[in-house]
C-alpha cells in the first residue's frame, strides 16, 4: 500500500469526518443564521424546476441506496440473490443517477447564464458543482464498468467503512479496487468535509419535525398560568416556561 492509498483511504476519511463534526457544531452554534441553502427560486423560478427536481430526487434515491448497503448489507445481498431483483435495483439506481446528472447540468447552466443569479452566486457554489458532477460521473462509470456495484459494495466497502468507524481501518480489500472507485471514495469524503462550510448544510436540517407538530404555534414570553397567580412560589430557580 503506497502513501497515496493510505492517504485516500485512511487519512482523508478521518480528516473529513473530523472537519464535518467540528464544522457542523461550530456552524450550528455560531452561524445558525446561515444554516440553510440560499434559495434562488425567487429570482429565477422556471429553469430551477428542471434542475432542482431531477437532481434532488435523484440524489435522494442514490444516497439512500448507499446508506442501505452500509446499514444492512446482508439484506441487500439476499435481495440481490435473484437476478431479476438485482437488475431492478441496479437499473433504477442508474436511472436516478442519470436524473441527478441531468439536474446538475441544468443547475449549472441556469446559474451561469441567468444574470439575476450572479449576486447570489459565490465560489463555493462552483466547488460544489464540480465535486458533485465529478462524483456523479465517477459513480455512473463504476456502475457501468464494474457490475454489480450493489453487491460488491455490500461485501467490500461496507466492512471497510465499518472499520473506519471502529477506528481500526482495514484497507486490505479496498486497495485492490480500481482507481475510479478510489476517486469516488475520495470525492465522497471531500464532499462530507465541506458540508458544514457550504450550502450543503441544508441536507442536515430536513424538517421532518413538521410531520408531527401541530399546524399552529403559539409562544409565550411568560407562563400564562403562573404569571398572575399569587400561589406561584418565589424561587431562585429559573422557572420553566411551558
Amino acid at each position: 500500500m503506497d502513501y497515496l492509498d493510505s492517504f485516500i483511504l485512511i487519512g482523508l476519511p478521518y480528516t473529513a469526518l473530523a472537519l464535518f463534526v467540528i464544522g457542523t457544531i461550530y456552524r450550528y452554534t455560531n452561524r445558525k443564521f446561515q444554516f440553510s441553502s440560499l434559495s434562488s427560486e425567487f429570482l429565477e423560478g422556471r429553469k430551477l424546476f428542471y434542475g432542482s427536481v431531477p437532481f434532488h430526487w435523484g440524489i435522494l434515491f442514490v444516497f439512500c441506496g448507499h446508506l442501505t448497503a452500509f446499514l444492512i448489507p446482508s439484506t441487500v445481498l439476499t435481495w440481490n440473490s435473484q437476478p431479476a431483483r438485482l437488475m431492478t435495483l441496479e437499473i433504477s439506481a442508474f436511472i436516478f443517477a442519470i436524473s441527478m446528472l441531468i439536474g446538475l447540468i441544468n443547475l449549472v447552466i441556469r446559474r451561469y447564464t441567468t444574470s439575476r443569479l450572479s449576486p447570489v452566486t459565490n465560489k463555493m457554489d462552483l466547488v460544489i458543482y464540480v465535486l458533485l458532477i465529478l462524483q456523479t460521473v465517477a459513480g455512473l462509470w463504476i456502475a457501468y464498468n464494474f457490475r454489480w456495484g450493489s453487491s460488491w459494495f455490500s461485501t467490500l466497502l461496507t466492512p471497510y467503512l465499518y472499520s473506519i468507524f471502529k477506528l481500526q481501518p482495514d484497507t486490505a480489500a479496498v486497495v485492490l479496487l480500481p482507481w475510479s472507485v478510489k476517486l469516488h471514495i475520495a470525492t465522497a469524503f471531500i464532499i462530507i468535509a465541506i458540508i458544514p462550510f457550504s450550502r450543503l448544510v441544508h441536507l442536515l436540517v430536513l424538517p421532518l419535525n413538521y410531520l408531527w407538530r401541530p399546524y399552529q404555534q403559539v409562544m409565550w414570553y411568560w407562563d400564562k398560568n403562573k404569571v398572575r397567580s399569587s400561589k406561584t412560589p418565589w424561587s431562585l430557580q429559573r422557572p420553566k416556561n411551558t
Binding site: 425567487f42 434532488h56 410531520l211 403559539v218
Partner: protein, 516 residues
C-alpha cells in the same frame, strides 16, 4: 373558554386619501435594506386594480390560504404533504417579476456626465444586478387606476361581475375607485405559521403578533405561498422570509406602529380584542356564509365578568383588560358592527378589519343644466362647460344605495365573501350616521326622516353620535389604545432578575455566575 388577547386593527376606508405615507414610514424603518427593497410590508392599493403582487387575490394562481374539503380545512398550496413533496421546488412561489424588480437611478450621472449637446439623464439601474433596466413595474403601478382601465378590468374581484355592469363601472364620468391599505393581518388562524416546515413562524401568546424567527427560517419559502394576502416576503439576499412585525418594539412600549402613527387620513385604529382561542378552528371551518358571523363570535365582551375572570386566569394583565374595554376596534367591529375582515373566505381569520367605503357609493353623477350658474360667474373665471354634477345630497332615503356607481357585488367580493346583504347593512349604518348628523348640524333633514333612517339601520341617536365622534374627531389616544407589554414580568418568568443586578453596573462587565 381559553381567553387570549390580540392587538387588532380597524382601517376606515372612507378616510384613506391614498397618500402612501404609511408605506414610506414602514419602508424607512424596516425594509430599506438589501434584499428587502421590493418588500412593502405596508402597501396601499387602488381598488379596483390588480394590486401588489399582481393579482394577489387570485388563489387559482397563488394557491394561498385555507380551503374547506370534506368538512375540514387544509392549506391550499402548502401543508405537511404538499409542502414536503414540493420542498425542492415550490411550484406556487411568486417570483420577483410578480412584484417588481427594485431599482434606483444613477443620479451621479446628472452631475458627472461630460459636456454635450444633450441633457444628461439618470438611468434606472436594477437593485439586484446593478445593471441598467427598463422599468416595467413599480410597487403601486396601478395607483389611481394607472391611467388606464386595464388594471381595474383585471382585478380578481371582477370575476362574477357581468360585462355590462363592468361597462357601467368604467364610464369615464362615472368611474369611481378607493384605496385599500394593507399590512399583515396578524391572523388568528395564520396560514403562514401552519405552512412553515421549520416551525420558524409563531404567534405571540401575549398580543397575537405573528413573527418569523430569522435564526430558524431555512428558506423553504412555504409561507410566501401560504399567506393568501402575500404578506410574507422572501429576502433573496439573506435567504430568509420576512413579514410585518406590527412594530412590536413600539407596541410593547405602548406606542402606535409607524404606519398607524404617521397615517395622514387618520384612518387607522388599534386596540385590544379578547377572544376565545379554543374556538379558532371551529370558526375557520365554518360554511362560507357563516364565516364572518363565527369569526366575530369568538371575540369576547371585555365587560363580561366571566370573560374578565377567565382572562385573568390566563395571565392577561389588568392593563390589557382595561385597554380591551376602551378598544376602538371592539367598538367598530363588535359593538357597532361596522368593520369587516378582508377576504374572509381565505379562512385565516384576519385581525385587521375594514370599514367599507361609502363615498364611491353615495355620490351619484348626474347631467344637469349649469347655464344659470355659469352666467353668475365672473367673466374672467375659468369655466367648465360640461354638465356633470357630483351629487352627494341625501334627498332620497336609500335611493343612492340602489343606484350606486359601484356594483355592490364588488365590495362584497372584497369584504364579505360575496354576501351583499352584509355590505348593505354596513352601508345603511354609515349612511344613517350621515343623515342623522346632517340633521344635527345643517338641519335640512327632517326629524322624522332622520329617526326613520336610524331605526331602519338599527342605530340610536347616541350610537350614531358615538360613531361620528370616533370617525371624525378622534384624538390620538382614542385611535390607539395600547397597553404596554409587561416584559418586566416576562423576564422574571425566565430569569432571576436579582442575578443580573450589578452585572453591567459599577465595575463588573460580564456575568458574575462562576462555573469554573
Amino acid at each position: 373558554m381559553d381567553v387570549r388577547s390580540q392587538i387588532a386593527m380597524v382601517f376606515h376606508l372612507d378616510k384613506c386619501i391614498g397618500c402612501h405615507t404609511c408605506s414610506i414610514a414602514c419602508k424607512n424603518i424596516w425594509t430599506d435594506r438589501k434584499g428587502a427593497e421590493y418588500m412593502w410590508w405596508n402597501n396601499v392599493e387602488t381598488k379596483p386594480g390588480t394590486g401588489y403582487p399582481t393579482k394577489w387575490e387570485d388563489q387559482d394562481i397563488y394557491k394561498g390560504g385555507w380551503e374547506k374539503k370534506n368538512g375540514s380545512i387544509h392549506l391550499k398550496g402548502a401543508g405537511k404533504r404538499r409542502g414536503l413533496v414540493n420542498i425542492f421546488y415550490n411550484p406556487n412561489l411568486p417570483v420577483i417579476d410578480d412584484y417588481y424588480e427594485p431599482f434606483t437611478y444613477k443620479y451621479l450621472d446628472l452631475i458627472e456626465s461630460p459636456e454635450g449637446d444633450d441633457q444628461p439623464t439618470a438611468r434606472p439601474v436594477s437593485l439586484i444586478t446593478g445593471k441598467p433596466i427598463d422599468i416595467k413595474m413599480g410597487p403601486n403601478w396601478d395607483d389611481d387606476l394607472g391611467g388606464t382601465p386595464d388594471y381595474a378590468r383585471h382585478d380578481p374581484n371582477m370575476k362574477n361581475i357581468s360585462p355590462e355592469e363592468q361597462e357601467v363601472m368604467f364610464q369615464l364620468e362615472k368611474m369611481a375607485f378607493f384605496y385599500l391599505p394593507r399590512i399583515c393581518n396578524h391572523c388568528l388562524n395564520p396560514a403562514c405559521v401552519a405552512s412553515c416546515p421549520s416551525g420558524a413562524i409563531y404567534k405571540r401568546g401575549e398580543d397575537g403578533v405573528v413573527l418569523i424567527n430569522q435564526e430558524v427560517c431555512r428558506a423553504w419559502r412555504m409561507c410566501v405561498t401560504a399567506c393568501p394576502y402575500k404578506k410574507s416576503y422572501y429576502n433573496w439576499y439573506t435567504g430568509k422570509s420576512e413579514k410585518c412585525i406590527l412594530c412590536y418594539p413600539r407596541i410593547e412600549a405602548g406606542l402606535a406602529p409607524a404606519c398607524m402613527h404617521s397615517c395622514v387620513g387618520r384612518i387607522r385604529y388599534l386596540g385590544v380584542l379578547l377572544y376565545d382561542s379554543s374556538k379558532i378552528e371551529e370558526a375557520a371551518s365554518s360554511d362560507e356564509k357563516d364565516l364572518i358571523k363565527n369569526q366575530l363570535n369568538i371575540i369576547l365582551d371585555p365587560f363580561d365578568e366571566k370573560v374578565i375572570e377567565a382572562a385573568k386566569k390566563n395571565g392577561v394583565a389588568d392593563s390589557t383588560i382595561h385597554a380591551a374595554q376602551f378598544s376602538p376596534v371592539y367598538k367598530f367591529v363588535k359593538q357597532w358592527g361596522l368593520a369587516l375582515p378582508l377576504h374572509p373566505e381565505f379562512r385565516t381569520l384576519p385581525m385587521l378589519f375594514y370599514v367599507p367605503p361609502l363615498l364611491p357609493v353615495m355620490a351619484t353623477v348626474k347631467k344637469v343644466d349649469h347655464k344659470e350658474q355659469l352666467e353668475k360667474v365672473s367673466p374672467v373665471a375659468k369655466k367648465w362647460n360640461d354638465n356633470w354634477l357630483y351629487d352627494t345630497s341625501t334627498k332620497e332615503l336609500w335611493g343612492t344605495l340602489d343606484q350606486i356607481r359601484f356594483p355592490l357585488k364588488y365590495i362584497a367580493n372584497l369584504l364579505s365573501a360575496g354576501d351583499e346583504d352584509v355590505i348593505k347593512d354596513k352601508w345603511k349604518k354609515l349612511m344613517a350616521v350621515r343623515i342623522h348628523r346632517r340633521r344635527v348640524t345643517v338641519g335640512d333633514v327632517s326629524h322624522e326622516k332622520a329617526e326613520k333612517v336610524l331605526k331602519e339601520a338599527g342605530l340610536t341617536a347616541e350610537t350614531a353620535d358615538a360613531i361620528y365622534a370616533l370617525t371624525s374627531l378622534p384624538k390620538f389616544e382614542e385611535r390607539f389604545v395600547i397597553p404596554a407589554a409587561h416584559r418586566e414580568q416576562a423576564i422574571e418568568m425566565m430569569d432571576f432578575t436579582g442575578d443580573t443586578k450589578g452585572e453591567t453596573g459599577f465595575g463588573i462587565k460580564s456575568k458574575v455566575k462562576r462555573g469554573l
